[in-house]
């Protein structure tokens, strides 16, 4: 007899706005407190102390416009955030500071979350949707120089880029970008050359979110329909559909694979978080806590596997934190 699904370990309240993005930073050594960053629709980024379950700091840097992406750049003192004010802000949070050190104006008016990749010590690449309708630009940080602009060819009719993932096969190899577009296709770009390597039509509706496992060269994408699509990359760098999985209710806002590549979590429009095994996409659990659309899910980067957490942010202003499948 299967056990009923677990309850959240704890719930963070206090954002007073829909939560659009979450990012853990828990890999630090003691006495560093593990923190969770959350970005909300009211423009605030809350820094949650995971020991006290309270907000340590609230950062206001996007002019009260919704923040839909937060990432850390090597530790919790350097933060990157992206908001609907068309800016990407870089923060320095060391020693209690709350200052925006730098910002990039992307001129992007959509909701496409940027993707960050560390290419070398102190050097990062960030891919973000750009001003042009179908374009993605890749910048180097912190220098803010443009590496390239990825423009689909004329007549490709891909629509807006909806979700991005920068990755490389191994440290030092050339960076590649996976982009999901409005027309339902996922495109693999070679960033250095600025060319399309492969394109795959995965969905009939826009691709809402995707995640990629570079070790197994397998990725997963979710859309506004009822299907999750798993695709793989073969040696010729071609994308092929591997499997599809039908869901009970339509709409996925976010997908994320746990760093140990054993499980993945999806955030659904039907208020539920679903957990699947990554190997065969075996459904493992349906976590039903929220009362509105779940916008984002994120796994923590705890060094100790038993402390690993899963957080989900929803339109109902709450962040639920779960401890699930933590035994290795």
């Amino acid at each position: 007899m299967a056990l009923p699904p677990p309850d959240p370990q704890f719930v963070l309240r206090g954002t007073s706005a829909a939560v659009h993005t979450l990012h853990f930073s828990c890999a630090g050594q003691e006495p560093d407190t593990p923190v969770l960053f959350s970005g909300s629709e009211n423009g605030f980024i809350h820094v949650w102390n995971l020991k006290t379950h309270r907000v340590d700091t609230a950062l206001d840097g996007h002019g009260r416009k919704s923040v839909y992406c937060v990432e850390t750049m090597g530790g919790k003192d350097r933060l990157l955030s992206q908001g609907r004010d068309q800016r990407i802000c870089l923060w320095d949070l060391a020693e209690g500071r709350t200052a925006v050190t730098d910002s990039v104006c992307t001129e992007h008016v959509g909701f496409c979350r940027c993707s960050l990749l560390k290419v070398a010590q102190g050097r990062w690449l960030v891919a973000t949707a750009a001003k042009g309708l179908e374009q993605v630009q890749v910048l180097e940080l912190p220098s803010k120089t443009s590496v390239c602009t990825l423009k689909p060819e004329m007549g490709a009719k891909l629509g807006m880029p909806m979700c991005l993932k920068l990755w490389q096969f191994s440290c030092g190899s050339q960076p590649l970008l996976l982009a999901g577009y409005e027309d339902g296709s996922v495109v693999l770009w070679n960033v250095t050359m600025g060319k399309v390597l492969s394109q795959l039509v995965c969905h009939q509706e826009p691709v809402m979110s995707l995640d990629f496992d570079s070790e197994k060269a397998k990725g997963i994408s979710g859309s506004s329909e009822k299907v999750l699509c798993i695709w793989s990359l073969n040696e010729q760098q071609n994308l092929q559909v591997y499997k599809t999985h039908k869901l009970v209710n339509a709409g996925i806002s976010g997908i994320t694979i746990r760093p140990d590549k054993r499980i993945l979590a999806t955030a659904g429009w039907d208020h539920r978080i679903r957990i699947f095994g990554w190997k065969k996409l075996k459904p493992l659990a349906v976590l039903d806590y929220h009362t509105a659309t779940v916008h984002c899910v994120s796994f923590s980067d705890h060094r100790n596997p038993r402390e690993r957490l899963l957080a989900a942010g929803s339109k109902d202003h709450r962040i639920s934190v779960w401890s699930i499948y933590t035994e290795t």
Partner: protein, 632 residues
């Protein structure tokens, strides 16, 4: 004919006279039945026989020309055969020309499509005759487009003329059409206006098909005129006339060429689109048999039985529904409310009665916020539910709104539909409930705009008449179904009289007796139905009297849909008002009506009107006999 050796100088005119005399006496069938096939064979390759034939026909006396030519046209198996037989008769002989270009096309309409195709094809096959084809098209278009023709000529004639126009269009070449482009365009615009103005859907469709055809021939580049209508057998047949069949014409068919060019252009686009993107072809996962997959089995799934489809809950109370429908921004909730409303109203009659008029008002003004399937039907069912739950105040509200300012025609017709459906439900309550969908099908009025609800009612009235006459002859037939109280009787008057009161008072936005004759037609049909349903109610005599007076004032209306409605009203009242009361209270009016009906049977151009009038006369006869049979 075997007496004629080829090439001799015999006088043919004797034969022509004989032929003419025989035909004019009505014996075309016999003589032409033999003559035409023989001539067809002989003239197939022999030019001399062709000339003989032409001479034969040219010598036919003028007074006999019509039946002869008509006979030939009807019997020739194709345009090319007719061309061989008649030659340029139409150009040389004035009478023949009149028969072919005027009489057959404009004054008669009983010929088949094949005859039309033969005749018009014949005109197109020779250069001299083609000029006639153009004039024919002009005249056909003039007739087609004249508003009096659309209003007064029978639909069958209009169909005939439309077919002729389409065939002409298919036979004419580009330069010829270009030369009279302006006239064609003007004629088409005029004609389309008159056709769309008509209340009969059949005529509207005819107009649309012909206009589309003309516009597509006039402008080969750029967007052509395209109407939205449902294709039925008639329209499909008409459209097929635009395509030329090869046997008909030696000239290469232009429409076919255009179509093959378009098809060729569509081809190259398709392969180009497929080049870059790969379509999803699932790769069979090879790791299936791999032993490695065991590590995944470590993860034990939780119980997921609660994971079901998410459904937005509809409100449970009527007042909540009102709140959602008037104010709520939540579209999911709005949708769920619209779907649930009818059920809620029926299950909570007391609660509904408290807010009935408010609900009726909201529903009347309710517009589609999201794309729900069957929104119109859902709204109508909810309105009917509200009306049947609290008939008197809601009917008062609806009938007053029917005559108010600033409603669209669609809304006014909706009011009429709702009144009829509710009346039907109130008078036969056993149809409501589980058997609603199956049992009520035949009585259910169609909800789509523009449909002819009078058809259903005619069927029902026919059945009623049948049932009545049967009863008269064979005695009492036990056809009774389980009876239940007729809830309509107490409210029939409330439905009926307010509707009939103000029909002659024009408002700024609504003039029943003027432009809005479509709504007048629907109103008249509605009154007929209400009258029919009021059988055995107390108010029926008063209703009958008022209705007869109403019919009397409108009896000469020009719109045939309205006239059909008026005649249905008379049927309804003859069926519903008890016979004794009819004959005591309304004798004079009925006698006058009888003479009017006789007139309609003979002279009305519309076939349906004539049939209805005949039916009414029969009903009256039956009534009289019935009363005479009963000893007073």
């Amino acid at each position: 004919l075997s007496l004629f050796p080829g090439g001799s100088d015999c006088s043919i005119s004797f034969i022509s006279h004989v032929l003419g005399k025989v035909c004019i006496h009505g014996r075309q069938k016999e003589i032409l039945g033999v003559l035409v096939p023989a001539l067809t064979e002989l003239t197939r390759s022999d030019c001399i026989w062709q000339r003989i034939c032409w001479q034969l026909l040219e010598r036919v006396p003028d007074r006999c020309m019509e039946p002869v030519v008509l006979g030939f046209v009807q019997r020739a198996p194709g345009a090319d055969v007719l061309s061989r037989l008649l030659g340029n008769l139409v150009v040389k002989n004035k009478k023949a020309q009149f028969v072919v270009t005027q009489k057959v096309l404009l004054l008669q309409y009983s010929h088949t499509t094949a005859v039309l195709q033969t005749l018009l094809g014949y005109l197109s096959l020779d250069g001299l005759r083609r000029a006639l084809l153009l004039t024919v098209l002009q005249e056909l278009l003039d007739t087609w487009g004249s508003s009096s023709a659309v209003k007064h000529s029978p639909p069958e004639q209009q169909l005939y003329i439309s077919k002729a126009i389409l065939i002409c269009l298919s036979l004419l070449k580009e330069p010829e059409i270009e030369s009279c482009r302006q006239e064609l365009l003007a004629g088409m615009m005029e004609g389309v206006k008159c056709h769309l103005d008509s209340s009969l859907p059949r005529l509207r469709r005819l107009g649309m098909v012909v206009a589309e055809a003309i516009s597509s021939r006039l402008s080969t580049e750029g967007p052509a005129l395209k109407f939205e209508y449902e294709d039925d057998d008639e329209t499909r047949e008409l459209k097929s006339l635009l395509v030329q069949t090869p046997s008909l014409c030696a000239v290469p068919s232009l429409p076919d060429d255009d179509r093959s060019e378009e098809a060729a252009a569509a081809q190259p686009l398709v392969p180009e689109g497929n080049k870059k993107s790969q379509t999803a072809a699932p790769v069979m996962p090879e790791e299936e048999s791999d032993a490695e997959l065991d590590s995944d089995d470590d993860l034990v799934p939780y119980d997921m039985s609660e994971d079901k489809e998410l459904k937005t809950k509809a409100p449970v109370y009527i007042r909540d529904c009102i709140e959602v429908l008037t104010g709520s921004e939540d579209v999911d909730k709005w949708e769920a409310t619209v779907r649930a409303l009818e059920g809620l109203v029926r299950r909570n009659p007391a609660a509904t009665r408290e807010v009935s008029v408010e609900l009726a008002k909201i529903l009347l003004h309710l517009e589609e916020k999201t794309c729900i399937e069957g929104f119109v039907e859902l709204r109508q069912r909810a309105q009917v539910a509200v009306l049947t739950t609290d008939p008197i105040p809601v009917s008062k509200y609806l009938t007053s709104q029917f005559y108010s300012l600033n409603y669209s025609l669609r809304q006014r017709m909706d009011i009429l539909d709702v009144l009829v459906l509710a009346a039907q439900e109130l008078s036969c309550p056993k149809f409501h409930g589980k058997t609603k969908h199956s049992g009520a099908q035949k009585l259910h009025i169609q909800l789509l705009p523009g449909s002819d609800s009078s058809k259903d009612w005619r069927r029902i009235v026919d059945e009623r008449i049948k049932s009545k006459t049967r009863r008269f002859h064979t005695g009492h037939c036990p056809m009774e179904v389980a009876s239940s109280p007729n809830e309509f009787s107490s409210v029939a008057g409330h439905f009926f009289f307010p509707l009939i009161q103000h029909f002659d008072r024009p408002l700024t936005t609504f003039d029943l007796l003027g432009e809005d004759h479509l709504v007048l037609g629907r109103l008249v049909h509605t009154l007929a139905v209400l009258m029919y349903l009021a059988v055995n109610t107390v108010a029926v005599t008063a209703m009958g009297k008022a209705l007869l007076e109403f019919v009397w004032t409108l009896r000469f209306h020009t719109d045939s849909y309205v006239r059909q409605g008026l005649l249905s009203c008379v049927s309804s009242l003859l069926l519903s008002v008890p016979a004794q009361l009819l004959l005591t209270d309304m004798t004079e009016e009925l006698l006058e009506a009888q003479s009017w009906l006789g007139d309609v049977v003979e002279k009305d151009p519309d076939g349906d009107c004539r049939r209805l009038a005949l039916q009414n006369l029969l009903l009256m006869e039956n009534l009289k006999k019935k009363l005479e049979a009963v000893p007073s």
